[in-house]
Assembly symmetry: C2
Homo-oligomer: 540 residues x 2
């Protein structure tokens, strides 16, 4: 096996989400839904080992590979097959389907694990000189094609895996700021901080595997973002290595000294530079965490309650609402779900974290609003959510195994547009899949709220056809068109990557696209950083 | 008098701050401080009418002037002397001193009042073609030289005054969003919204005269920003006219669709485009407003209390703390002040706005923290602050009349650096002015708090020398060096303009400066927008 930096945290499995032992058995009710409700035919197979995944042959010249290897040290570079497979794709369903079979996969020629900002700078300099494309690699959890750059015209592709850079550099307790390295995965960062009594409070579904650098580069939003803020709100400082040199941004919480350039690198998805250090706002580890379930008669009623809390407070730490279909599935009533019924109403999860007394005060205030807005407490639902909060991606692996096509997509819009966006996306996806003979189940929830709007997160499942990647692409395209047409943004927290580029271009238009190209040209004149990702009008 | 759009809101006086009738008489205690404590000699005179202010002769070619005039209509363009004087400078003390006397002043050749986004676009197109510099003009309240562009190499300078664009375009009550035009001054915007039951809650000291476009372009922060957010936090959408075309940014509260490009125009100070519409978060007009005074034994003790509230909550709507010297002056004990004593301790103002019950809950929570941190209530101080919250600039006019040099400057830093920044700035300014034989009085307050840091706002007063502009420049340079050297940002809410450019360049470094130049070149290839302002490495 190739040299690979190790840490005590498990890696993503090479063919799916995390630890394969955690992939659940599907309950009988779901199996019945798949076979009887959706007409799922047979299992989708997968190779037994990474060596069975065919890859496009590497083409990086030996001399350049040697130069790059020397920069990080031979112990921290490899061109071995398994490492290439592990850095070939993110974790969207199309990514997983491509790992399960098909033509030889494009993959980095070389995987490099730099240990410092200076090593990253040196790698970018060499790659610029030699016109080698670079994919900055954190946890590998992108679901928007962010790890699959376009390499036509380049002398090769290298993955710059940041996971060796995993230190808590410093902690300023007075300002409650921690400087952290980008390769820290969620649990690693939280353990280092917890030992000092602090937390970032950033818990996206990808928490167990994604890295801090990835959270920043993709503008991640966590399940507790209502309380702790989105990741782009907790980042106070950034250090970035670019082919044009280093940037150190953020010497105060907020400033009127010009545009906020931190906001240009947050969401830059590795196309403008490599984030090598982050200074983030931390908080004391909460004394208390409470998650409660609340049931509403309908999605509209539940949404009104969430809006009231987001606008007038008190704002809970976690605030989410499943629609009728998702609620039915959570209640293990898939039969209802297939019929589109919503007898179980809509389930909300409302969580509070913080100091004992603050939690109680916030909870009392929020609960009186929830009751006034028609909610009824459902105590067990909060615990069930807490138990399963990171389980979704494992379930997808099991469903793919069983022959279902399952994928998620998400958007965000102002409150007044939200019902239209939900309806437009649902109809578009339903039509696109039904037209292919595979009518889907579509679940939706609100997972992030703001005073002026909220996110919508959709889960789609149907029977897989022979070419499920092409099958999904039609649905995804319909969804993207529906989002843009109804006034949503193409992503609330997944990012743009390669998969959303078409709609992103449409969303920001010109000359906004030209701004990004100008910045890209300034910082990365050879265009080596994640070509084909994010930047409108860049390589396709 | 030239044609000039009128509205029922008073204009800035041409020689100072607002309505001259509101310039106060100085109390005897202050007069004694000026003469005995600071050695102020004689009054600083001023012209009796704008016609007495000498201006550099206009040089814009008649044909170009006619083309620009045609674009907005003859009723909305003028080259008359008084209008030129009124658009020549902002309202920093050096600006006011230059209006009071000296060589002929640079001023726009022509003042234009466009009525629409399309007219602004057309003006920018003509000016780009003809290489005419443009100063976008809102309320005219810049205190950082933001209205005094470098025009060498240009065929002339025109002011594009946005105040005709003063409509409430639309109100989305469900999302609590208002689309507003940029020329609305603070009270105008608040009146339009109050008629529908809403407020933006943005009340900087310049509130009465500054415009929404200016708030956005300069990243303004209001006195109630702890509660309502900074202006850059309430802006959800922007429409911008640039020589390269139009941008419409922001279709959701937050998004992971790439970098947040709104944050590039917020703080762009008219150098990248002209903001022609803003969509801002609004809130219901508060049922209740309460401002209370709290006294602390020392600035360090008071700062600790503010930090506790900012970090652990509950966060009041208004939160500010005067140091010992500012407290002494507020208590009308200028004698103490001249001796540097602080017998009166430090006064904090803590305000709460919102629904009745929410105000009471927040107040109870905050007051228990304030007491626990050593604070003692001082009921009258809250009312005094409310009465005088917009009075500072009027007082400056009276002090200049009396022969005192008075100016303010501000910064922001992380909490752990704050004591050093305060000490460094105070020492540097004291030394720079004492070395000129005019030892100053220096007051300071914290006016904006964040979980990770706070702003510091300094007021400096001393006897004016014969060339008070040069006298102040030495102090200002020393302050800028001290801010950068001690880890503060060169501005928390005044902006960069021309006066802070040197330190701003140092603060962001390269290649960050190159990013701004690249964006500027993309959007404004002829470089007509506010040349010499903000952009590092641009015209000096």
């Amino acid at each position: 096996m190739a040299p690979r930096p190790t840490d005590p945290y498990p890696e993503l499995s090479w063919w799916g989400w995390g630890d394969p032992d955690q992939v659940p058995q599907l309950p009988d009710s779901v199996r019945t839904l798949l076979s009887d409700g959706l007409g799922v035919r047979g299992p989708i197979g997968r190779p037994r080992s990474p060596s069975e995944v065919p890859l496009v042959a590497p083409r990086l010249a030996g001399e350049v590979a040697a130069q790059l290897t020397d920069t990080v040290g031979a112990a921290h570079a490899t061109g071995e097959h398994e490492a290439r497979v592990r850095h070939a794709r993110g974790r969207s369903t199309p990514d997983l389907l491509r790992l399960r079979g098909g033509d030889p996969l494009a993959a980095p020629d070389l995987v490099l694990w730099p240990g410092s900002h200076e090593e990253v700078l040196a790698l970018l300099w060499i790659c610029s000189q030699e016109r080698v494309a670079v994919v900055p690699f954190g946890g590998g959890t992108s679901v928007v094609g962010g790890l699959d750059p376009e390499t036509t015209g380049f002398a090769g592709l290298v993955a710059v895996d940041l996971r060796r850079m995993n230190a808590l550099v410093s902690l300023d307790e007075e300002s409650r700021l921690a400087e952290l390295e980008p390769g820290l995965r969620g649990p690693q960062a939280e353990e280092l901080l917890a030992a000092r009594g602090y937390t970032i409070g950033h818990f996206p579904q990808s928490f167990e595997y994604a890295t801090l650098g990835g959270f920043a580069a993709a503008r991640s939003s966590g399940q507790a973002s209502a309380g702790y803020g989105r990741f782009d709100e907790v980042v106070m400082g950034l250090k970035v290595a670019t082919p044009a040199g280093s940037l150190v941004l953020g010497r105060a919480p907020k400033s009127a000294a010009g545009p906020d350039l931190r906001q240009l690198f947050l969401g830059s998805e590795g196309t403008l530079g490599v984030i090598t250090s982050l200074t983030v706002q931390v908080r004391p580890v909460p004394e208390r965490r409470v998650y409660s379930g609340w049931r509403f008669g309908s999605f509209a009623e539940g949404t009104a309650a969430l809006r009231r809390l987001a606008q007038d407070g008190p704002v809970p730490t976690v605030l989410r609402l499943s629609d009728e279909a998702e609620t039915a599935l959570n209640l293990a009533r898939p039969a209802e779900l297939a019929q589109g019924a919503g007898a179980g109403g809509c389930l909300a999860v409302v969580g509070y974290e913080g100091a004992e007394t603050a939690v109680e005060a916030r909870r009392a205030g929020a609960e009186s609003v929830l009751r006034a807005m028609g909610g009824e407490p459902d105590p067990e639902a909060g615990q069930a959510w807490e138990r399963d909060r990171y389980r979704g991606p494992y379930l997808r692996d099991a469903l793919l195994d069983a022959g279902a096509l399952v994928e998620t997509l998400e958007t965000v819009a102002f409150w007044s547009r939200l019902p239209n966006v939900k309806e437009a996306v649902t109809s578009a996806v339903r039509e696109a899949l039904s037209a292919q003979g595979t009518p889907p189940v579509i679940l939706c929830h609100v997972s992030h709220v703001y005073p002026s709007g909220a996110s919508l997160y959709f889960t789609v499942g149907c029977a897989a056809l022979d070419d499920p990647v092409a099958q999904w692409q039609l649905a995804k395209a319909a969804a993207g068109d529906a989002i843009e047409g109804s006034g949503g943004s193409i992503s609330h927290h997944h990012g743009v990557g390669r998969d959303h580029l078409r709609w992103y271009q449409q969303e920001i238009g010109e000359p906004a696209g030209a701004i990004l190209r100008a910045v890209k040209t300034q910082l990365d004149p050879a265009g080596i950083l994640n070509p084909g990702i994010l930047i409108p009008g860049g390589p396709k």
